[in-house]
């Protein structure tokens, strides 16, 4: 009988809260409140390694990198059990946000089971699988990479490439963010095979950590994702080589090709000739099936193989065969239908994408480089790239497209992105959930009762059972007990319940840290190790407590605060931006010299926030103060202050800006034009430009756009010469005082 194999999934969720008038609640506040509510409502023990917690079902809940709430299942014995605990995690999260008062008063919190951001940030976050094994980790990449690349035909979440300016459907949105075959990176430089091998337990176990995958609504997809991968690992553990014949010479290219092919028929080179993703999966399935009666595989293997074979047979008949059961195919059908309803032909999206990408490439050389391509901003975005737009109009005509449909295409793009995001929304409003409720999907493998039980109870076998019971028993004594994957600690006595054996069953408290399995150590080393572990635990406990108490504004670093305020400004959270800027200035003013170049820089920044908020008089006051503080020490920031002055005057309907334009000309003539405040030399103010473009006549807005470009790159001064008001203005000395 093969040894039980422990499996699990870590899911990072997207979370946001929106208050009245579409105002977004700050992420630090939201996450802080979410964790606070979790601590109030859920039986838990504090996590020894973070400000998160371990739960009574044996799982873990914390906030991971990038501000994503993450739920990790306990260690499970089968793919079905993993699935049950993934759904239990979703139920727990929903309970925290839906039951009772809103998390943040006056706002609505939404949680999304998704992996990419479509706002223009190009961000991605993960859903990782863990498979415990005893195979040689060095042997795994060769055997597994072809599987990880091709399994997306049933594990892909579907969606869109969130990097392109156009619309590119993808079976696997994470494929866009994979750039290496093998890598240890998980937040950048991601690989198909992740080399992390942190067992989180003793003995000779390893943990395969799969980061190339997505969160799924489909039970069938999630079941197969975990089950097929674990079975292939089991073959490797038995010394077999299931991936030898299908090794890929160019795995990253293969991943990108398969991701863009909803027909699942495109072939890539393998060591045994060209194969499609389905064909590669067929190969792995046959390898596993050939071992079904050899006693190597876990008891759930036949069920996985049966469903695996069924899905591959369906896929061989086209995506329609899985159109109601797998995430990517469900979405593919819905997206195509939506595109048709909006009067577009699906195939034309590729042509529009080519246009959009060229538009974005041209935009990348302007101050709007960070601006998402949106229909509502199109006219403004085109201001600095008029020539290129002219060429694109011709290209569109040659493709048989009506250029006037370009804004409609961009609107459609945003709608498709919204649909994809809402597809994974947890709760009754989510598209997947509502379709499931309507009975039009055929994916379900676990029922509500099983999930409800998994919310409360740990799995029946393995250390998670001990952990879950201890959490329930000790919850409420968070100040004394804490937990990590391998131990439950009594911080008062220094004793622990040892869970380094993944199949530990004992709840006994022990003074001495047991050696890892099979190892014998001298007593004094054991005692020393125990002592060190305990000391480290205490330190972490104190640190975690501090982190828990920290509020988002606790930093006293004005640069960090200012950066946070700038991000708020760009998101349109102007009240928050103003508050944080003022705090940054207050702290900084007390620390720096009266003539520090930071002072005018921050004041001008505050003026920008106020400009965006329409509080022009206040903005002018701060802007003027910034100018006064520059006296005699002019640099790039002087140019930015003058720019804001000109913008404010124009917004107030005043045309007498010759003085400021003239002084700006003088600033441009400074050689060298220094940057004294140690700030970013590229000025990212697309949000401010949006405001200006919205409220100013085109001629003024265009001039300001080009002034910004020149401030970022003096080579652009040539273009400014085409503007009469710039060409004709005389340079003015910087000592000339501004009028009251």
């Amino acid at each position: 009988v093969p040894e039980p194999r422990l499996l699990g999934i870590e899911t990072e969720y997207a979370v946001s809260a929106v208050a009245a008038h579409g105002i977004r609640v700050g992420q630090p506040l939201l996450l802080d409140t979410l964790m606070q509510r979790a601590r109030q409502r859920l039986p838990h023990l504090g996590d020894d390694h973070s400000s998160g917690m371990f739960l009574a079902n044996g799982g873990r809940f914390y906030v991971d990198a990038g501000g994503h709430p993450e739920l990790t299942t306990p260690e499970c014995l089968s793919p079905t059990e993993v699935l049950r605990y993934v759904r239990a995690g979703e139920t727990i999260l929903r309970g925290l946000t839906e039951d009772g008062a809103p998390l943040v008063p006056g706002s609505r919190t939404s949680i999304y089971r998704s992996n990419v951001d479509y706002s223009g940030s190009r961000a991605t976050w993960g859903c990782h699988e863990s498979v415990m094994h005893r195979a040689d980790p060095r042997s795994l990449p060769d055997q597994l990479i072809a599987h990880l690349v091709s399994r997306m035909v049933f594990t892909g979440a579907g969606g869109f490439d969130n990097v392109t300016a156009g619309v590119k459907f993808t079976l696997s949105p994470r494929a866009t963010h994979v750039h290496h075959a093998v890598s240890g990176g998980s937040t950048s430089g991601r690989g198909i095979f992740h080399t992390k091998n942190e067992s989180l337990c003793g003995g000779d176990y390893h943990r395969l950590h799969v980061i190339f995958g997505e969160s799924l609504g489909s039970d069938l997809g999630c079941f197969l994702k975990v089950g097929t991968t674990a079975l292939i690992v089991a073959l490797c553990e038995a010394g077999l080589h299931p991936g030898d014949d299908v090794r890929l010479p160019a795995p990253v290219d293969a991943a990108h090709l398969f991701a863009g092919d909803p027909t699942c028929t495109m072939r890539v080179s393998t060591l045994s000739g060209p194969r499609s993703a389905v064909s590669i999966q067929r190969h792995y399935l046959e390898q596993v099936e050939s071992q079904l009666d050899k006693g190597l595989l876990p008891p759930w293997a036949p069920e996985v193989c049966r469903r695996w074979r069924d899905v591959l047979e369906r896929l061989e008949g086209g995506w329609q065969g899985v159109a109601t059961s797998l995430d990517w195919a469900i979405k593919f059908g819905l997206f195509r239908e939506h595109v048709r309803r909006r009067g577009f032909v699906w195939e034309s999206l590729a042509q529009w994408t080519a246009i959009a990408e060229r538009f974005a490439t041209a935009l990348a050389k302007t101050p709007f480089r960070e601006r998402p391509l949106r229909a509502s901003f199109l006219r403004r975005l085109a201001l600095p790239i008029r020539d290129e737009v002219g060429r694109l109009q011709l290209q569109a005509r040659r493709m048989g497209l009506d250029w006037d449909d370009f804004p409609r295409f961009l609107d459609l793009r945003d709608e498709l992105f919204e649909i994809d995001t809402r597809f994974g929304e947890l709760g009754p409003d989510g598209l997947f959930t509502s379709l499931d409720r309507a009975g039009v999907l055929t994916h379900r493998l676990v029922d509500g009762d099983e999930v409800a039980s998994a919310v409360e109870h740990p799995p029946s076998v393995g250390r998670a059972l001990v952990r879950g019971r201890l959490v329930r028993q000790l919850s409420g004594h968070d100040d004394r007990y804490c937990c990590d994957w391998a131990r439950v600690w009594d911080c008062e006595t220094g004793r622990c319940v040892d869970l380094t054996d993944p199949f530990a069953t004992s709840m006994a408290w022990t003074d001495v840290h047991p050696t890892t399995r099979g190892e014998a150590r001298p007593d004094h080393l054991e005692a020393l190790e125990q002592h060190l572990l305990f000391a480290r635990s205490r330190v972490r406990r104190v640190q975690a407590g501090r982190r828990r108490q920290e509020s988002p504004d606790d930093t006293t670093n004005p640069i960090e605060l200012s950066d946070r305020a700038r991000r708020c400004r760009m998101r349109g959270q102007l009240d928050e931006a103003e508050r944080i800027f003022r705090r940054a200035m207050e702290i900084e003013d007390a620390r720096v010299a009266p003539d520090s170049p930071k002072r005018p820089h921050r004041r001008n920044h505050l003026a920008m926030v106020l400009l965006r908020a329409g509080r022009l008089d206040e903005a002018k006051t701060w802007n003027a103060e910034a100018w006064c503080l520059k006296a005699g020490r002019h640099d790039l920031v002087s140019g930015r202050i003058l720019f804001i002055r000109i913008a404010l005057c124009l917004l107030q309907g005043r045309r007498d800006v010759a003085l400021y334009l003239g002084q700006l000309k003088t600033v441009f003539n400074l050689d060298p034009l220094e940057c004294l405040a140690d700030i970013a030399v590229t000025w990212e103010i697309h949000d401010v430009l949006d405001t200006l473009c919205e409220h100013l006549p085109d001629a003024d807005a265009t001039l300001l756009v080009h002034l910004t470009e020149a401030l970022n790159d003096r080579e652009h001064l040539e273009v400014l010469e085409t503007f009469e008001e710039w060409r004709t203005v005389e340079a003015v000395g910087l000592e000339v005082a501004w009028p009251e």
Binding site: S119, G120, S121, A123, W125, T187, A375, V440
Partner: protein, 70 residues
């Protein structure tokens, strides 16, 4: 100055089409070809999408902006 002819009108037309779905899209497989289940899915999906979509998808996406994780 570059302008998109009737930009606003087109955006409004786009919104109007939500109430009255346009025909066309010859390249999309006929619903009948996809089987009864898929047909039911598209019908339910179309309705659910129209209910779920905000009036301003760009604003929705901006309000839900996320930072990168693992």
């Amino acid at each position: 100055m570059i302008e998109w002819k009737g930009e606003r009108a087109m955006r409004e037309r786009n919104r109007d089409e939500r109430e009255t779905p346009a025909g066309g899209g010859a390249a999309v497989p006929a619903a009948g070809d996809l089987g009864e289940q898929a047909e039911r899915l598209f019908a339910a999906g179309g309705d659910a999408i129209e209910r779920a979509l905000s009036q301003d998808s760009a604003a929705f996406l901006a309000a839900n902006q996320q930072e990168g994780g693992q």
